[in-house]
Amino acid sequence: MAFLEIDGLKKRFGSVEILKGINVELEKGGFLVLVGPSGCGKSTLLNTIAGLEQITEGEIRVDGRAINDLHPSKRDIAMVFQSYALYPNMTVAGNIAFGMEMRGVPAAERQAAIDKVAKILQIGHLLNRKPSQLSGGQRQRVAMGRALVRDPKLFLFDEPLSNLDAKLRVDMRIEIKRLHATTGTTIVYVTHDQIEAMTLATKIAVMRDGEVQQFGTPAEIYNNPINIFVADFMGSPAMNLIPAKIDGNGAGLSVVLDRESRQPIVLPMPGAPAGLAAFKDKQVIFGVRPEALTDPEGAERNGSEIATADCHIEVVEPAGSDTFAVTNLGGKGVVARLRADARIQPGTSTPLAFNLSKAVFFDPATEKRIL
């Protein structure tokens, strides 16, 4: 039995169904990230776990106990909000202790708890300040402290990093990950940033239009996306989704990629998924991540299915750590990720290595993965 179980959860506002039957579970000490574009229902789902929104159908259980009819304060949860939601009229210490004060914890005990949390988050010197006197990162820490001090069964984070600047966001992301590792708490975390999802999660639920598209570990989501939406949403730069044709001869299947005014590229697929045979002579979407499309020297030496083809490079983007090259296949811009020192000129042709063991195929009609 999992620690957090969400079972057939539905949420309707009038006739509009916001959440259409969510089934998710998380083990104790796990880190679940709900990720998806805005309006996908991820924040609503978090609010229903917190009890700030009522659910229409289904059940939410924490540690085997149904909590969906309990008041937020009775659920043994703590929440960190996007705007931090620090009480402006109270000091940092007052903010952290407010929940304990409401539960009637004696002052001495409160002080001890504040000191403990302040030490963990290194905010001891800020305890007597008001939230308006803090920087964004400090406010973020205080908000986490307010959640941490309750020692709850479940932590809820609602886009906690989206108000920070890029550098601080990376710092705080590591901070949260470290906190999770040291305290071993169970966390549900909402974000629209797929990098946060990949780096933090032990389990990811990719959501769209009130439905969980795919639920699994970051590696599963990244390497085996279940449909085009997940493949496109996770990963930066995004996966290349190239219209292609499946060709078959006696030996096996091969992928045919059209090129402008040149011979199409034909990539033999000895290890093609079984379902691909049904698409012989039909159109599919050929998905290959930029790092699986690289210069032959940079390609994985032990990659079992490397195929090389000459490609016309249109744009070169040196990003410091890597060089991205854009070519055109199947009528679409396709991004390849090369070594930083790859000698490559726009407007020329260069051989690119396709790591076909990492390639995935989608049915263009249903947008589902071909397995």
């Binding site: 609010n47 917190a50 009890g51 700030l52 008041h71 937020p72 304060s73 949860i77 703590a78 929440m79 909000f81 996007q82 705007s83 939601a85 009480y87 402006p88 009229n89 407010f98 929940g99 409401m102 539960r103 307010r146």
Partner: protein
């Protein structure tokens, strides 16, 4: 060369145009300020003059020998109708009316605003629209219905008096005025607080809920401490309106020793025995105006700030 000289010429002519603009603007502002402050000035200087000086001197001249006698007389001796005990009793009547009325209407307005923005229920817009409508009802039109209600409350007070020996404030003129002003102030105070709380971050309420705070704990610990600007606006607005009210005061407490300041002042000025003592009248009027002036001076800078906060964010 013309290309070189013309920007300089433009700059200098622009400068002088700006100076003229400034002079016109400040001149007009000063003129209007003088126009508005003139009556106050005349009142103030007259109240410190002797009757001789008033009858023989210039209205705008400063007093030759300033005297506090008119103020003392206005405070403790002047005749309102036939009773000659000064304004002090009526001043306290007004205080006893205005303080509870302002506090209760402000608190209820805050509570209404809190519910109408953070605990929304089906039909909350209709309730708010009806409260807003109360702001536009002319007070004259409610005089008679309100008199009927106050009459029934008074009779209920008599019943209580007979049954328990105490009327619990029913039928008391000051309590009646507090009730009337609270009821008719609620529309405005609710409007002020609703607009202010509309922009108040809802995540704070959610955080407090998760922290386990109850409805009233959130109100008292989160909402009220962060409402200072709008509380100041509401208090100033309500204080000025209630203190200066003459219509309800004269209708429901228009005679005897329960009169508020405004009614008493009117009686003082209209008392026609002997010469009209302008200096005493002016001093009495100054005493009547002083509390609102003090409230403005003390809290005025919050007034504009709070009004803008409500207006822009709401």
């Amino acid at each position: 060369m013309s290309a070189v000289t013309s920007p300089a010429r433009q700059a200098s002519s622009g400068m002088s145009a700006r100076t003229i603009n400034r002079i016109v603007i400040y001149g007009l502002l000063a003129l209007f300020a003088i126009f508005y402050l003139m009556p106050l000035f005349v009142m103030l200087v007259t109240s410190f003059k002797t009757m001789d000086e008033i009858q023989n001197g210039n209205m705008l001249a400063l007093p030759h020998a300033p005297t506090f006698a008119p103020w003392i007389k206005a405070w403790s001796e002047v005749c309102s109708g036939l009773t000659c005990v000064g304004m002090k009793g009526y001043f306290w009547n007004s205080i006893k009316m205005v303080v509870p009325a302002v506090l209760i209407s402000t608190l209820l307005g805050a509570l209404n605003g809190y519910v109408l923005t953070k605990w929304r229920f089906r039909g909350h817009t209709l309730v708010f629209a009806m409260m807003l409508f109360a702001c536009f009802i002319p007070f004259q039109s409610v005089l008679l219905p309100m008199a009927t209600i106050l009459g029934s409350l008074g009779r209920f007070g008599v019943t209580l008096q007979n049954a328990t020996g105490f009327n619990f404030g029913f039928g008391n003129s000051t309590v009646n005025l507090v009730f009337v002003h609270v009821v008719y102030g609620l529309g405005f105070t609710t409007l002020f607080f609703r607009n202010y709380y509309e922009a108040f971050p809802t995540e704070l309420i959610k955080a407090a809920q998760v922290d386990g705070a109850s409805f009233f704990q959130i109100f008292r610990r989160i909402m009220l401490p962060n409402s200072l600007p709008i509380i100041v606006v509401t208090v100033i607005y309500q204080f000025t309106n209630i203190w200066n009210d003459f219509l309800f005061a004269s209708a429901y407490a228009g005679s005897g020793d329960v009169m508020p300041m405004t009614v008493a002042l009117n009686n003082v000025v209209n008392t026609s025995t002997g010469v009209v003592e302008y200096n005493v009248n002016m001093a009495a009027a100054m005493i009547a105006a002083l509390p609102t002036l003090i409230v403005y001076v003390v809290a005025g800078r919050y007034f504009v700030r709070g009004l803008m906060a409500g207006a822009v964010k709401g």
